[in-house]
């Protein structure tokens, strides 16, 4: 989506066609990022709905990198949602895994399985970089960690994935 600022300007003017175009362009990478943070399909869709509604009513038009801003919003919403879920439902790791398997979406692919074995931060960095096409500098700003840590974690994660995927059979 090269014309993202233009789309956001049109959304600000109440153009629903522009919003639909924006949704179609951003739904997959944003959903992938959110899903890999929450590891829950229903929660991820809730987060995504809240995110798109927020963007519809107040699109980020006056920011340096709207794309990075949107991912930051998605990341913060996902993390907040997880935190709230833990406060109220006391979900633990096995509950989340069970729910994911029932939905039969998350662990469908071998690559997803491999990605889910990564620690949360490495998983988020890899997803933002490869699925969200964000720059390392932008990821560092979103996660509020040093650029060097992002680079190191990314390289480490890719090495792990390569090993896991290579040893699958």
């Amino acid at each position: 989506m090269n014309d993202l600022p233009q789309l956001l300007t049109r959304i600000r003017q109440g153009d629903k066609a522009a919003f639909e175009e924006f949704y179609e362009g951003m739904k997959k990478p944003l959903y992938t990022v959110v899903l890999r943070i929450t590891r829950n399909v229903q929660l991820s869709e809730d987060v995504l709905q809240e995110l798109f509604v927020k963007i519809y009513f107040s699109p980020p038009t006056n920011v340096t990198s709207p794309r990075a801003y949107i991912y930051r919003m998605a990341h913060n919403l996902a993390v907040d949602t997880i935190r709230k879920q833990r406060e109220y439902v006391e979900l633990n790791e096995s509950d989340i895994t069970l729910q994911c398997n029932q939905n039969n979406t998350l662990y469908e692919s071998g690559v997803e399985k491999a990605i889910m074995t990564l620690p949360e931060r490495e998983r988020t960095i890899v997803t933002m970089r490869l699925n969200g096409d964000l720059k390392f500098r932008e990821i560092a700003q979103i996660l509020t960690i040093p650029l060097g840590t992002v680079l190191w974690s990314y390289r480490k994660a890719i090495g792990k994935l390569q090993t896991i995927l290579g040893d699958t059979i």
Binding site: K16, E20, Y23, K27, K28, P29, Y31, T32, L35, S44, E45, L48, Q49, F52, V53, Y56, F57, T105, L106, E108, S109, G110, V111, E112, K113, A114, I115, V126, L130, N131, I158, G159, L161, Q162, T163, L165, G166, D167, T168, I169
Partner: protein, 295 residues
Amino acid sequence: MRKLLGLLVLWLTLALVIPALPVSANAEIMSFEVYTINIANHPDDVGGAFFTGNNLCLMVLNPTTARNEQLRTQYGAKYAVSLDQITIIPCKYSYNELVRTSYEIYVILSSSDNQPWAIGISENTNCVEISVAEQSYAYYFLSFSQQYGDKVHVRINTPFIAEYGLSSSDQFTSNTTVLSPNTIAQSSRDIPPAEYPGNNTQNYPMPNSSLLIPWVMGVSIIAALSFLYWRDARPVRALNTARGTISSALVLSSRQQTIMAVKNSVEQPSHNLYRSIIEDIDKREKFSSYNDQKP
């Protein structure tokens, strides 16, 4: 990146290996210039010079009266002896010719014999002295006798080994310049180059360890780059695709393929999501307009 690393490794390997090939092939053989650095400097018609008591014996090839006088004057001044203390003895071989022969034999022995051996020029017997191990004596005796005749004298090395540690002055009194790799290297280190003016100073041997540091550095760089290349491009047996299927047991995967697989593993939300979002937006807009209309 991978291509660049590969090319860099290839270039470094060639740069290190190609110059080393001739060196390693003749690792034990020193050049003729280095070999002759500790050899006595005689004219071409002199077969050698040695002392018997206080008299200097000078071996001369085809001596003539005029040439004898000339050599007497030259060697008298050189060794600080009076002219009547110099005896001229006719000989068959020039000292320089013996040096060349000894170098030929040195090359043969360096490249073929693993047993202890030594080589030198005996100035009083006017021949090349070779000392070899007992088990290879017969072979060398036959082959060198056939090739060089009485110019070369082969013997078993038992009594000769003791001469390895001779100093340069001892060598002169024994009239045998012992030329083995060890003695030559030792003598070269002991004698400062200033005492050997001319081309000897230019050929002063460098210690072999001077090449060791760049060599080790080069090999280390190659190893590091090879590791990086391997880590970046190493193939693994198979790869799960984004669809969850194993593509093939024969398919090789690299770091790049892993990245591509992750890139392609994008998840998609349910089809109802957009409708839910639009409903939510409509609801909020209605609520907002209702609030605006409220008095």
